[in-house]
Amino acid sequence: MAKIIGGVGTSHVPSIGAALDKGIADSPDWKPFFDGYIPGKEWMAEKKPDIAVVIFNDHGNTFFLDRVPTFAVGVADHYDPVDEGYGRRSIPSFEGATDLSWHFVDKLVENHFDPLVCREIEVDHGLQVPMELFFGRPENWPVKVLPIWVNTIQYPIPTPQRCWEMGKVLREAIESFPGDERVVIMGTGGLSHQLQGSRAGFINREADEDWLNNIANNYEKFRDMSREDYVEQFGSEGAELIMWLVMRAAMDDKVDLKMKHYHAPASMTGAGMVVLENL
């Protein structure tokens, strides 16, 4: 059986990748943000996972509005970075954890989920940035990836409760997978931000801190909140935080909060991370 070695929640703000590309990660604006991820990187290096499951949303880069999957799962052998309008970033292609992906798709459908299954597809900053934050900029990524896309762009977006249920299936899939792979689960997005409407620039530091403090062992209120609650508390784009629930639900009921970090603003976003381990 494959083994879940930990769960990570993290922001995936595109300017993080841009800061790395421009070589300004050590600037006064960015250094406090990146410094907070150093322990996370060390943790990942020590844990040596073989596969990273990355739950993220596309941002109008891979999926257009002609077809909007509520949930999509990658089964490709590799995933190239997509051109988001600035040219393709020079980071390595991501190798796909194909066998685990197909196994997960089987388990999803057996459990009455109906995912879009993607055989050939590119990935945007939603997957790239979390990988860079926890694995740095290696010549080749040290893990294979299993991408899960969640629609958070066009309403109706899935409910937080449905994301939670998907996390339960993810756990079942990993634990029933015939192999000895070590798997890290990365729930990404947020924290609070709003990019559209006259409330643009909304950041809720208090709600962000509450999320980071309680997603580990006091998660029930977040699991049970409505989509409206998410938008109100975390901003229209901050509702991306529902994707952390997939990760959290795949972990034990009680977990060890190994580390957390918060910095605001990163660009227009409250940004940060947690690292969780099963006890």
Binding site: G85, G87, M268
Partner: protein, 112 residues
Amino acid sequence: MSDAQIPETPLFDRKGSIDGYRINKMAMALGDPANREAFKADEEAFLDRYKLTPEQKDAVMSRDWNRMVAMGGNLFFILKIAAVDPTPITAIGAAQAGLDHADFLKQRLGKE
């Protein structure tokens, strides 16, 4: 979702998706370098290719981000217009908040 509105917070729903389809499709195309070159060479001709209405064209060509969003332009697509310029995302935020850029950075993002 219920119809209850969260103040100052438009959600990209059925109406936005239908109204903004052409703007968003045009903007999506700017993920391709050849289309970016065509856009830069003759912006109006490029917009015509995607059958934008005169109002939509005017909003795009005058970089009226607030109107683009009001007409169903979704930020994640229209960011590709911003990428061509380039316009910082905080300037798009400021335009929607009705603040000048420096005030926006200070008041909304807490930057000095």
